[in-house]
Amino acid sequence: METFKTYDPEAYYDELINVDGTPRPGAKLLIDKIESLPEGDLTLRQKEAEALLLKMGITFNVYGREEGTEKIFPFDLIPRIVSKQDWQQIESGLKQRIYALNLFLQDIYNDKKILKDKVVPEDLILSSKTYRRECEGFTPPRGIWCHVTGTDLVRDSDGGFFVLEDNLRCPSGVSYVLENRQVLKRTFPQVFQASRVRPVDEYPGKLLEMLEYLAADGIESPTIGVLTPGIYNSAYFEHSFLSQQMGVELVEGRDLVVSDGFVHMLTTKGLQRVDVLYRRIDDDFIDPSVFRPDSLLGVKGLIDVYKSGRIAMANAPGTGIADDKVIYAYVPEIIKYYTGEEAILPNVPTYICGIESDRQYVLAHLDELVVKAANESGGYGMLIGPHASKEERAEFAKKIEAEPRNYMAQPTISLSRVPTIIDGKIEGRHVDLRPYILYGEDIYVQPGGLTRVALTKGSLVVNSSQGGGSKDTWVV
């Protein structure tokens, strides 16, 4: 039965239901609506939504499988609802965090004050794989480094929000936010309207404004391109979608050449200059003459043009240092250093394996902790202690001892849950939340974001590459 009558939030924080089983503020209309549907109707709507996504080709490719393996990103119809109060904390906390991280990036690539003041250990920065010496002494257009951020937030069983990860390189997923919303609007039109959900559709427009803002002075209508690795990239749909929504060119590395000190596109009528690139290729691959020489995805000479100020790029190369998972542990101090304020959104407590005492603790408590590699993403290279076997833990302990700098650990958080349709029943599943932040003339936080849900019972891993799905997020 698709009903809430038998729904049990158990010991977790449930995003829609109070401990006593009543709906949380803002969720009542939705729950009443679902309860009023005839038996089987919700599952039917769910199937229709999935068929629609497949037909629209909203799919992603999974690495490590046969090339071209496509899956739809599983989508659950029951939205996550975020109250106004919660959202105020999230929004102001994210603005504060991004503002500080941007100052941090500018500082470590230039004056290095924060290192000289020993707030962040210098060797930690210089030893990071994502620290780019090529960026030293450079100030990007308008002084902005991290233009697009997708910060991962989690809520624990006491109902408090924490920042889990900063994604400052090429965060993906915003297209799902926009598409999920389209589907939900069609599925629950009346509830949607009556709940006064804040719109997410401004995002492509805001992104375009931000990119235009980066163009050099004097360029009236800049030529903007979204730089994609191509159709086999797992986020290709999103690259294509965003360029379509903004009405700008979608380009691959092989479409661009550096000539006469500028970056140009190869067009049927010759070369055309490009002023701003929203690049969705990692630093490593973006310019074979500066970073990985074997990269076929990038543009030779791009970084030179960029450093001479003849093209703007979002995000700036070098931002990866600020989402290093070990640097992450220092972000509250970074915020305090640059703004004088306490962090509005706290970090999850973190043990840094590079520090002797922390490492001893981590090795002794591997069965309770989540261990992450400093520069991996997408749920790769991590150990979830409580769910791992003895052998897996022993193997991971060896990795930590071999390369302590590369690891950090956090207590396993009982992520909050949202009711989810599972085989025709409603069951609780764990979620996180990734809001998207744009840093242009000012800082914009898209009201909502991507709620990722671990569809496997009891699982805490929400990554799409590891069997996670998504939900629409309603800020009411």
């Binding site: 629209m56 379509q244 479409d255 050449v257 190869l266």
Partner: protein, 324 residues
Amino acid sequence: MLSRVANSIYWMSRYIERAENVARFISVNLNLLLDMPTEEGKHWKPLVMTTGDHEFFEKQDPEYSQDAVIRFLTFDRDYPNSIIRCLLAARENARSIREIISSEMWEHLNNFYLELTSEQSVRMAFKDPHRFFKIIQMRSHLFTGLMDCTMSHGEAWNFARIGMMMERADKTSRILDVKYFMLLPQASLVNAPIDHIQWMAVLKSASAFEMFRKQHHNITPHKVADFLIFDNQFPRSIKHCINKANICLHRITGTPRGAAMNPVEKRLGRILADLEFTDIQDVIDTGMHEYLDNLQNRINGVGAAIGTSFFNIMPDSTSAKQEQ
């Protein structure tokens, strides 16, 4: 527009046209068999000959049975010109330019491919092939219609049209070449009803039967060839295709018609002029096969010139600059 985008849209529409032609050839053959004595293999071999890939086929299957040929031409993922491979290529191309084409086109093509890969499709292709190949053709027509009605007729659209027209001209010349070679010795000896049926089938392979009748009434090999090469109005005649491709090309470059500024315009213009000042008697005098073979080579030459002139320009090479 980006060279890569122009390249992708050109090939997207070429591949769809190619898939449609394969489906039509199979359809016509199936119909032909209904009126024929049952010597199965004999009637399926020519079909594979038309594609020019009979060696490829024979490597896998020495017997030209109906099922083997249908499987090969429709579902063989190793054979690059099978319907499924054509649609896969069309879809991959479309996917790389989905922000350029309309979402109606993308969704239709995506669905077209996905349904072809389903088990029901495979079952239908062997159990009810008449219906199956009709559906393939109609889906291709629907795609062409969607392209016409939902996408601006700008540069990208004109590249798509050129792709479609070049592919169509090539296929019409091939079917005529192969059939003429096979049927002519018999046709000159007797005028048996079976030849009549075969020539009707040639026309039907280009969807040309009814339109031919309106123009020429009785069927003779020369008239069929004349119609498929030189007719001004029939949308699958070679001349018509070349003419339409030329119009689209001039829309893209902005060069006045009758003038030629780049290698593609020159080559295409020459083919068109030849078609205008040649008639069927000249073709017979040259030899049908020699004439069509030469024409096919020249059509391929246009395709190659389109590649160098529009799709692969090199910024520092002076020759490329001159081509612009």
